[in-house]
């Protein structure tokens, strides 16, 4: 069967006296869409931050392709093939769309000082690689029309597309999307969902955090439910949505019966 691409083992994250993640364990299979859901403050984004190295895990281990990546630096983890987007859409607002995508491929090339100053052939080749990558991604996310626009002037939906595109430009094997459909309207949500499915069809494994049930339960293959930093359910969307504890967490005890 499919292999464990990411294996999260008993992760604990404490903020002072507050336990934000309590021995959370799950795995993501290669090629699937995995979704982490849960009420506000349940630790979803904290989980992302621990996986990508922007927060240190208190205890526990994370394996990516059987290699331990716990508490490595964010840029090292990105180079190993895990890309992410942020909950509040983040792009380089003052740079053009195209430059945003070009710089996102920087990690895959070499850019030494002397080569840069002398503008060596090697350097121009490396730059051309970034340009090609940016061309490929800009078509993939459908932003050719605005390629020279400053990213900060785009609509929310276009910025979301761009931020996903930037993550893709790092050539990831695993893509972590933090609320990819937050703050956009219904039509735009459908467009973003089809983008996510298109990414999956290109063989990239996806893990997403979602609030909207439509997105959270329609597109993923498997779902993890967190509540107060604890894993309360894991399984297919159908299994999870029927789970008593999940209903309790979302709707309160009276609905669980």
């Amino acid at each position: 069967m499919s292999v464990k691409l990411l294996d999260v083992q008993e992760i604990v994250k404490d903020f002072g006296g507050l336990r934000a993640l309590d021995k959370v364990a799950f795995y993501i299979r290669e090629g699937e869409i995995f979704s982490i859901i849960g009420p506000n403050g349940s630790g979803k984004t904290t989980m992302f931050n621990v996986i990508t190295g922007s927060l240190r895990a208190t205890t526990g281990k994370i394996l990516f392709k059987d290699e331990e990546i716990t508490n490595l630096k964010p840029y090292t983890i990105a180079r190993k093939g895990i890309a992410r987007t942020f909950q509040l859409t983040t792009v380089f607002t003052l740079n053009t769309v195209f430059d945003n995508l070009m710089i996102s491929h920087r990690l895959r090339i070499k850019a030494g000082l002397f080569g840069t100053i002398l503008r060596s052939g090697q350097m121009r080749k490396e730059e051309a690689k970034c340009r090609e990558k940016a061309e490929e991604i800009i078509r993939f996310i459908g932003l050719e029309q605005v390629r020279h626009r400053v990213a900060g002037s785009l609509t929310q939906e276009a910025q979301k597309r761009l931020s996903i595109g930037m993550a893709l430009a790092t050539d990831p094997e695993l893509l972590l999307l933090d609320e990819p459909t937050g703050g956009v309207n219904m039509q735009e949500i459908n467009a973003l969902i089809s983008l996510i499915e298109k990414i999956r069809d290109h063989g990239i494994t996806i893990c997403l955090i979602e609030h909207k049930m439509k997105v959270a339960l329609d597109i993923p293959d498997r779902v993890l439910v967190l509540n107060y930093g604890e894993k309360i359910a894991e399984g297919s969307p159908a299994e999870v949505s029927g789970d008593r504890r999940v209903i309790e967490a979302y709707l309160g005890e009276s609905h669980a019966a």
Binding site: Y75, L107, A111, T116, I117, H148
Partner: protein, 328 residues
């Protein structure tokens, strides 16, 4: 995108024209005073351009730049006077010393961000000046370092040589190094390395999530800028021939900062424009008792209120406006 490409090539011609003009200046400017002012403009222009790399393009407000200028100047002066180094060799070694000091300082200070970084580097600047001032046995302290010779003559074919005893060759010397500085900064800014600098300036967290080592990137920018600041210091030492601890003072840093702000941070010509205008103004006002810093203060207030991006930024905006209206 045509107007963009067009303005690019026009800009190239304009630069070429200015460079040619700069090289012909000594043909019609013969006054020693004006040549001296131009030489100072070039030296300060270099220092401001180097500061712009870390501050304008990488977004780290480095308030220790005067210290690096001073370290470069003192290092070369001491190497030449005390160890008898050849000027060109001393220049290289002095720049490397500046970078080395910059490395230790950068590794410490770049861990902090924003205003903490600014304050940290400013403290470092003060420390450097105090050390230069009190380490009498090495630096001659407050008496200053006297008698640094001009660069040795460069021999040419047929027994001719370029001698740096008069002002014109000195002007060409600093001009060449100014162009070198601009060239280096231009190449870096328009490369993937420059894009990573901009990424770190734009959003460090995002840059790191895209696999860019923010610390390494900032350190790289910082070291290049200290190298170029040291280089400007070396030229200053050789031209003026006298150094006192004040040349590494934080007042120098703030002067460079004002050049950058008034000319326009994050633009290639901005710091140069600032350095030229203010150096000329302050040299011309030497006779007046009116304190220079008061004028700087007023200028700075006006710029910050009306021209946030400095003169270069203002001109660019105006140009875009004209180009747009012309296109309609």
């Amino acid at each position: 995108m045509e107007p963009f490409a067009q303005s690019q090539s026009m800009r190239r011609y304009a630069f070429l024209l200015i460079i040619v003009f700069a090289f012909t200046i000594p043909l019609f400017v013969t006054s020693r005073f004006y040549l001296h002012v131009l030489i100072m403009c070039c030296i300060w222009g270099m220092a401001a351009t180097s500061m712009n790399l870390i501050m304008g393009y990488t977004g780290q407000v480095n308030l220790a730049h005067g210290a690096f200028f001073g370290i470069g100047a003192y290092a070369s002066g001491l190497l030449i006077l005390k160890l008898g180094f050849n000027f060109w060799f001393a220049m290289l070694v002095a720049c490397l010393i500046t970078v080395l000091v910059g490395f230790f300082m950068g590794v410490l200070a770049l861990r902090t961000k924003g205003s903490y970084f600014a304050i940290g580097t400013m403290c470092f600047n003060v420390i450097v000046t105090v050390i230069i001032d009190s380490w009498d046995t090495l630096t001659e302290g407050a008496r200053g370092l006297l008698g640094i010779p001009r660069p040795p003559s460069i021999p040419l074919l047929f027994g001719k040589e370029i001698s740096f005893s008069s002002l014109v060759p000195n002007y060409y010397l600093v001009l060449v190094f100014l162009l070198f500085t601009l060239f280096v900064v231009h190449r870096i800014v328009h490369s993937m390395m420059g894009k990573s600098f901009a990424a770190v300036r734009g959003n460090e967290e995002l840059a790191e999530s895209l696999g860019i080592n923010a610390m390494g990137t900032k350190l790289m920018s910082f070291l290049i800028s200290t190298f170029l600041a040291g280089l400007a210091g070396v030229l200053y030492a050789a031209y003026i021939g006298f150094l006192s601890p004040e040349i590494s003072d934080y007042h120098v840093t703030f002067e460079l900062l004002v050049f950058c702000l008034i000319g326009g941070l994050g633009t290639l010509v901005g710091p140069l424009i600032g350095a030229f205008i203010l150096t000329i103004v302050s040299e011309l006002l030497h006779g007046l008792a009116f304190p220079r810093l008061v004028i700087y203060g007023f200028l700075l207030i006006i710029i910050i209120i009306f021209l946030r991006e400095g003169i270069a930024g203002g001109v660019r905006k105006l140009w875009l406006k004209v180009a747009q209206e012309g296109g309609r």
